[in-house]
């Protein structure tokens, strides 16, 4: 059996890179938010420190095996999602397993974590957690539909379901799908707002209403693992959107620039908007994003 050591290297380093980038983005977000609110703000390593602190917590409390495994489900989904996305275009090391899955697969593996997390939160027996899960799943139905509309438009336009093929299509700046199919991009990016869970779509973890919702009984190592997963998942989603719409990246600097710009869209939206109620956000997703998605498909078909 011949093992490709380069891909093994990729398998090991990709989650670590994703974690570091995601965690730094999280810290930067807090700093940017602070600057906009005319504050000084925490250092950009703040999220990393938080995670280290949570790992160093001595005791942890669990309500049963599903709560114990809930964060593991979440991080498994994050890392697996990352493995099936080509992080760097045409790179041997960072394409990982992306040849073995396609966009439909990614759609499904992305909800694997939410489902596991929901089960974990369910076992805590905290009613706030259950309310949060109920809101989260409802909202998920909201944003998944415009997202799928935009993906279907793109898949139909380029006759492929593979992310690698989509990357191959976008060779030059003008070939980026954001320019080739702008309507799909609008639908996708509006769904992306919901996917990232920043305000106005943060009713799931609303701390003032339902005591941070699903993770309300998670502390110590469990919360640390969840935050790690969140960081990795943020990065994975950003790379996915960069690969789909912004032509991917052939080196890390381009990747960082593109993902950061993409990341700023939900962050800056979140700072200036108050929170939507669940049915409001569902109705939001089923209004304009849906129209744009349908238009995108119609443009491709006609």
């Amino acid at each position: 059996m011949n093992i490709n050591w380069l891909s093994v290297l990729g398998i090991i380093t990709t989650p670590i890179i994703a974690f570091i980038v995601g965690v730094t983005y999280g810290g930067l977000t807090r700093r940017i938010t602070a600057r906009i609110q005319n504050r000084y703000g925490p250092p950009s390593s703040q999220n990393l420190l938080d995670i280290i602190k949570l790992y160093s917590k001595e005791t942890s409390i669990q309500h049963g095996v599903m709560q114990h495994l809930g964060p593991v489900f979440a991080i498994t989904a994050s890392i697996t999602t990352l493995y099936f996305i080509p992080v760097i275009k045409n790179s041997v090391v960072f394409t990982n397993l992306s040849f073995n899955g396609d966009l439909i697969f990614l759609l499904y593996i992305m909800v694997f974590g939410s489902l596991g997390m929901a089960l974990g939160a369910g076992q805590t027996g905290n009613p706030n957690a259950a309310i949060g899960v109920s809101r989260g799943l409802s909202q998920m139905v909201g944003y998944e539909i415009p997202f799928v509309l935009s993906l279907v438009a793109i898949m139909t336009q380029f006759h492929t379901t593979s992310l690698t093929d989509l990357l191959a299509v976008q060779k030059h700046f003008a070939d980026w799908i954001i320019f080739q199919s702008p309507l799909a991009f609008i639908a996708g990016i509006l769904a992306f707002l919901g996917m990232m869970g920043y305000a106005p779509f943060d009713v799931v973890i609303a701390p003032a209403e339902i005591a941070s919702g699903p993770p309300s009984e998670f502390g110590g190592k469990y919360l640390a693992l969840m935050m790690t997963s969140r960081s990795i998942f943020t990065f994975a989603k950003l790379v996915l959107f960069t690969d789909i719409f912004l032509g991917g990246a052939s080196d890390f600097i381009t990747l960082i620039i593109k993902t950061f710009l993409l990341y700023m869209i939900p962050v800056l939206t979140g700072i200036v908007f108050p929170r939507f109620r669940t049915e409001q956000s569902i109705c939001f997703f089923w209004k304009w994003p849906l129209v744009f998605g349908v238009l995108a498909i119609l443009v491709v078909v006609l």
Binding site: T59, Q62, N100, G125, V152, T160, D165
Partner: protein
């Protein structure tokens, strides 16, 4: 020795024997039933591939034979039959009228086996009726409340059966034969009008059993009220007979006609809307069995979409989903039955926190919902993947959105199902609940392993499916033991997926368990963050009522329109119409005489207009 008549003989003889023996030696009744299903399982499995038998009765020739397509469903029926009978040994132990129960149960199994091995429409209809009648008997088995529900089921079954019968008669009158081999492929010899009516009638007939949307109203109640082992078979295998029939009609009759694409398109959209609406209804349910019933309707909608699209990949997806649905829905109904057996209710607002008491049932339900949701790495994913790929690649852009919306919304009711029954607050009321006996655990465990294995090696199931598709004259499609391909060159390698998921999961699972193992402590579900307040014993901390209120609010207009109301309205209109008719037929001779005179007068007055001559 091993041939189709023996299989049917075993099934029906076993049925009668278990009824008789119930009155002689009640202890032997269950073993007899179990033995029958074991024998059936062996016989069906060992049945040679091309056995064919002709039986002459008068002018008719009954033909029974094996096809790959029939064998696929036959195997499913036999396996599920064995599992459900095994499951019911302990589940039904404390119930009454067990002879009646087992007799009808085995009759259903025998009827279904008869259907899949029929090679002519007469025996198909004959066994169809056996299956329908005995399943009706089981629907009304439980209690008095079941009778009105049973009536609804019966009325719809009758509508279905008669439309099949009329279709058969039409076929016979125009073709003079009812043998499959003489009809299939020669459908274009008859006139278009008859073709259309035959196909529509047959689809309505089979659609009743597979709960297509306007014909589904019997299903939720009938599923909810029948005893759990039978519900598993009902939703698992019985509804698949409808799919079996629709498959035959679509690919053997309709595929050769000129209007095939219209049939496909209509059926696909009906299936899609069935899937979406049934999912939305399922979200609003509070009874676990009703929730699963609506979920079944939704899943059957997917299957019909897959069949109707008609590309090789979509048909494979549909058949794959049909088999898988039988398995996972049986798992879920069995887990629900286990809960029902121990707590006496399936109301999701009452039961909660059974995970620590019933771990096996919980794991079964967990694997079941993951499979329904279609999340990798379990078997459901392969089916969903093939369905989406085929939908997108065959250009059904908006249907794929409908299907995807249904599939995402399915997470809602699936989570609610498992959360309400097994997770959440562990309440004092259910403190003494125990795990179900091993006879009930074994089928659940075996099916759990099955979905796991199918998840890694979908090829195991795709082998018989591709030979079944050969019988249906569908082009073969690409697949490997664990790799799925689509037409655009995309693929999913399930082995790599499962390996990477398992590796990460196990690695991090070990990490989180070992890290601070000694300082990780278990606390009860009463010890939660309640703003410092100490919850008392009877304090209700379970969030189960109106679980998806916000979502229901946003889809309220869809939920309001109920097809049930339309049927009630139709019934009312007919009743009133007949009421008026009563005034016409007064029963008075003079009135009738007046009618005759009036009729003649009108005839004379307008005869020129009507006939063009003056009388």
């Amino acid at each position: 020795m091993i041939s189709i008549p023996y299989i049917l003989l075993i099934a029906f003889a076993g049925a009668l024997l278990s009824f008789v023996i119930h009155h002689i030696a009640p202890k032997l009744r269950t073993p007899v039933a179990l033995l029958t299903t074991v024998l059936l399982l062996y016989f069906v499995w060992a049945l040679p591939a091309n056995s064919l038998i002709n039986i002459k009765i008068g002018d008719f020739i009954l033909t029974w034979g094996t096809t790959a397509y029939g064998q696929l469903f036959g195997m499913l029926v036999a396996v599920l039959g064995f599992f459900t009978v095994l499951y019911s040994t302990d589940f039904m132990a404390s119930k009454e009228r067990l002879g009646y129960f087992y007799m009808n149960f085995l009759f259903v199994i025998g009827g279904m086996l008869g259907i899949v091995y029929s090679q002519d429409f007469i025996s198909l209809f004959f066994f169809w009726e056996i299956m329908t009648w005995s399943s009706f008997m089981l629907v009304i088995y439980c209690c008095k409340d079941a009778q009105s529900i049973g009536l609804k089921y019966f009325v719809f079954s009758a509508i279905g059966a008669y439309s099949i019968l009329i279709g058969i008669v039409l076929l016979y009158s125009s073709m003079g034969t009812l043998q499959f081999k003489n009809i299939f492929g020669h459908i274009n010899e008859i006139s278009t009008g008859i073709k259309i009516s035959v196909i529509i009638l047959m689809i309505i007939g089979f659609g009743v059993k597979s709960a297509l949307m306007p014909l589904h109203v019997w299903a939720p109640d009938a599923y909810a009220v029948s005893p759990s082992p039978f519900t598993a078979l009902f939703s698992g295998a019985l509804s698949k007979m409808g799919i079996f029939g629709i498959g035959l009609v679509l690919f053997k009759l309709a595929a050769h006609t000129g209007f095939y694409s219209y049939v496909q398109y209509t059926l696909a959209w009906i299936g899609g809307i069935t899937a979406l609406l049934a999912t939305f209804y399922a979200i609003a349910q509070t009874d676990a069995k009703k929730l699963l019933a609506y979920s079944s309707i939704g899943q059957l909608g997917y299957i019909i979409v897959g069949l109707a699209i008609g590309t090789p990949l979509s048909i494979a997806a549909a058949l794959f989903l049909a088999i898988l649905h039988a398995i996972f829905k049986s798992m879920l109904f069995m887990a629900t039955g286990a809960v029902y057996m121990r707590t006496g209710t399936t109301n999701m607002t009452e039961v909660s926190g059974l995970i620590r008491k019933m771990p096996i049932s919980f794991v079964t339900a967990l694997f079941g919902i993951i499979t329904v949701a279609g999340v990798p790495p379990l078997g459901g994913f392969a089916a969903k993947w093939m369905l989406y790929e085929s939908l997108i690649q065959s250009g059904h852009y908006f249907l794929v959105i409908v299907i995807f919306a249904a599939s995402t919304a399915a997470f809602l009711y699936l989570f609610r199902y498992i959360f309400s029954l097994f997770l959440g607050q562990e309440e004092k009321e259910w403190e003494n609940v125990k795990e179900v006996p091993w006879t009930m655990q074994i089928p659940m465990i075996l099916m759990t392993i099955f979905v796991l294995v199918i998840g890694v090696f979908p090829g195991l199931l795709l082998d018989p499916i591709s030979s079944a598709m050969q019988y249906l004259n569908v082009k073969p499609f690409d697949y490997q033991m664990s790799v799925l391909f689509n037409n655009w060159g995309g693929k999913v390698d399930m082995q790599i997926v499962v390996r990477s998921i398992a590796a990460v999961f196990i690695l991090l699972g070990i990490f989180i368990t070992i890290k601070g193992y000694r300082n990780t402590r278990y606390v009860t579900t009463k010890d939660i963050h309640t703003s410092g307040e100490i919850p008392t014993e009877n304090e209700n901390l379970t969030y189960a009522v109106d679980f998806y209120k916000p979502f229901e609010r946003s889809i309220a207009p869809l939920l309001k329109a109920s097809i049930d109301k339309v049927y009630t309205l139709t019934g009312d209109i007919f009743e009133q119409a007949f009421d008026y008719l009563r005034y016409v037929y007064t029963g008075n001779g003079q009135t009738y005489a007046m009618y005759v005179v009036l009729f003649l007068a009108i005839l004379l007055l307008f005869s020129e207009l009507i006939f063009g001559i003056i009388l």
